[in-house]
Amino acid sequence: MRIQILLFAQLREAVGYEQKTIEASNGETVGSVARRFFDSNLAGFLNLPVRFALNEDFVAEETLLKDGDRLAIIPPVAGG
């Protein structure tokens, strides 16, 4: 299945793009896909306390992905 990963702020700057579509296996979770992405592309940010959003709602790492999901990796926010 195909998952669209969205990146922001320091993570976007580090990889040099805002989004990327990746292949994932059926049954994979948010956490497993995110860990693989960090290991390959964002190894310098493994200690950054990120959160995840699927289709614009915060989700837990254990959430199962489905084909076509938009997975946003949310670094620490600072609005206001």
């Binding site: 969205l6 922001f8 702020a9 946003a72 926010v77 600072a78 609005g79 206001g80």
Partner: protein, 145 residues
């Protein structure tokens, strides 16, 4: 409703009027761009945003505030893009039947925006390299007596 804008925010336009005749109190919070942070001199800043999620999360925050306190109306506007010192970054106003609910809800809404809305701030300094800022965590929902 659009809660995110890339245009300058005018306080005068936002504070006019009172939408609900049963409201007895209105509390407003205005956040400005400060000229210093964490011992560094701030020249300007850039707010990055995930717009569709930010709109959705702010609507969720407003809905939760309305469910917790007996409030009549909530207004939120957050600016993104490039801001200068003294610019308005965020505006929150809450109308309620009584002042207790208005004060508590306004405080909770701005605190929760800072914690849960996907907006990121990059500060540019006179005396240090620029950097992304992390916000402090939100407090528990206070009780309304």
């Amino acid at each position: 409703m659009n809660y995110i804008t890339d245009q300058p925010v005018s306080r005068a336009g936002l504070e006019m009027g009172k939408a609900n005749e049963s409201s007895g109190a209105k509390v407003t919070f205005v956040g400005y761009v400060r000229n210093h942070n964490d011992g560094k001199i701030v020249d300007k800043l850039y707010y990055e945003c995930y717009p569709s999620m930010a709109e959705k999360q702010i609507q969720n925050i407003i809905n939760r505030a309305k469910a917790i306190w007996n409030i009549k109306n909530v207004r939120v506007l957050h600016r993104v893009g490039w801001l200068r010192i003294g610019d308005i970054a965020v505006f929150v106003s809450v109308e309620a039947e009584h002042r207790d609910g208005a004060f508590l809800a306004c405080r909770w809404v701005i605190d929760t925006i800072k914690q849960d809305v996907p907006i990121w701030k990059k500060e540019f300094y006179s005396d240090h390299p620029e950097g992304w800022v992390s916000a402090s965590s939100v407090k528990e929902v206070p009780a309304c007596g």
